[in-house]
Symmetry: C2
Subunit: 251 residues, 2 copies
């Protein structure tokens, strides 16, 4: 029975993909079986791990659009610390294709129940757009992990995701469990420290204790096709994602 | 006859809003008349300049939805270096409201022709979502300024905006002028320098000479409700946006 984490925030560039890949790698270091799924039509996690158009076929697209092929979409490669389901540029067409189709919000949940039961953790890298793909991820999850940058506009962005979660709770008729992760924390910047304090006051135990610091090694890692845990295991960024993995494991 | 710049990129968190506000302020320092418009339903530029729900009424919403009020939506305040049209959370409803309405792609262009002729520059802060609002901004512009982070995934993101511009050129039946701005450049990070060189090789004169460096002062400025030009005029970030303003002015 896997724990399913949707990594979601409607704001762009806050560290969703970085969290999906780094936390996935860190959880694998704790000897758990991890599946990471790229659900973003922008396919950043996919490209980051060197899945390029032409060098792979099956993708998350098969969950949402009927495919006559029944091949596995889960890739397990030597160089990957976790199993991975890549995204595809055609994921951008899912919204229109599934318009008004009944049950379109539950396709991912059904797929997970059939194909992902052997994993301890499933991490869903979500698109920033509100739509049927994000809905599927939130509905399938037991925890929504919300990365939030420690800057002033991040507080403004929190309102958006909370409104989305409230609407979701209404239609799902159950609690939607969520927890916020402060990312890109810059201890030298007064604004960053101020926002972190506000987040702590406002969210209390809905904020992870682990704070992800700003670290230039993340950008280096994405250009080298691996996660920060593999390339720079002693860096502050890697060490904090390892702490986050332990905190998630204890939830 | 204003020069109209659409600040656009479908990737989130690349510096669109920061560019709209900082470049707007820098162009104003060159003694030009500047109008900045927040077209993003997330209203980050709006919140950054301390326009909060409740302390303002008219907004960009009136361009897209018929409003019986014919009040001006352009704000000129003592503390603002430029004239400003705020966004509004209801901008998220524009997409659905204008579905299949003929002429929905030209509403902004028409409004600009009526209301913005006295400005030298109009800067449009665009949402990252592809949709009718982005379409209006691109169709109304004479130049599309594309901020691109100097990281590996940025090159992947470029393909998306170029595909959008190609489609737009087809339906507009005219050239869509664009120019890329390298942002968040981190000279200490090898990946950042590598990506900058790739951008220069690939884009040639379609890349601005000015490079915007990573600078912690941007985040400080957004928490203080003003632009970096007003608060930290000697910072590297401010000086480079001033250089960009001169480069834009010479185009
Ligand atoms: N803690 C950090 N310190 C420094 N850079 C970071 C950090 N976390 C992420 N980044 C960098 O910030 C950029 C955006 O991160 P990322 O792609 O994870 O955001 P995202 O929320 O997934 O964006 P999108 O909304 O486009 O999917 C990337 O270049 C990434 O390498
Ligand atoms: N050159 C820079 N150096 C450091 N931080 C920066 C720089 N430019 C922007 N930022 C910060 O990065 C974050 C994202 O920037 P911004 O909001 O301008 O991006 P955006 O493309 O408008 O995002 P969105 O897609 O959500 O509209 C903000 O916290 C901003 O203060
Ligand atoms: Mg992402
Ligand atoms: Mg913005």
């Amino acid at each position: 029975m896997p724990k399913i984490l949707a990594i979601a925030n409607q704001k762009g560039g806050v560290g969703k993909t970085t969290t999906a890949l780094s936390l996935g790698s860190a959880l694998a270091k704790l000897k758990t079986k991890v599946l990471v799924m790229d659900l973003d039509p922008h396919a950043c996690a996919t490209v980051h791990l060197s899945f390029f158009p032409g060098n792979y076929q099956e993708s998350a697209l098969d969950i949402f659009l009927v495919s006559k092929e029944k091949k596995s979409i889960i890739y397990e490669r030597e160089n990957l610390p976790f199993a991975f389901v890549p995204s595809h540029i055609k994921m951008a067409e899912v919204e229109g294709a599934l318009k008004n189709i009944p049950g379109r919000g539950w396709l991912l949940k059904k797929w997970l129940q059939k194909e992902a039961q052997n994993y301890d953790y499933v991490l869903l890298d979500c698109p920033p757009q509100t739509g049927v793909i994000l809905l599927n991820a939130l509905a399938a999850s037991n925890l929504v992990l919300v990365p939030v940058q420690t800057d002033f506009l991040a507080l403004h962005g929190l309102k958006l995701i909370f409104d989305t979660l409230k609407l979701l709770q209404k239609s799902l008729k159950r609690e939607v469990e969520f927890k916020v992760l402060a990312t890109m924390f810059d201890i030298r910047t007064k604004a960053s420290r101020k926002v972190l304090n506000l987040l702590r006051k406002k969210l209390k135990d809905k904020l992870f204790n682990t704070i992800i610091p700003i670290d230039t090694k993340f950008r280096e890692a994405s250009s080298m096709g691996k996660t920060i845990l593999e390339l720079f295991p002693e860096s502050r960024g890697a060490l904090q994602y390892l702490n986050l993995a332990k905190e998630v494991h204890r939830l």
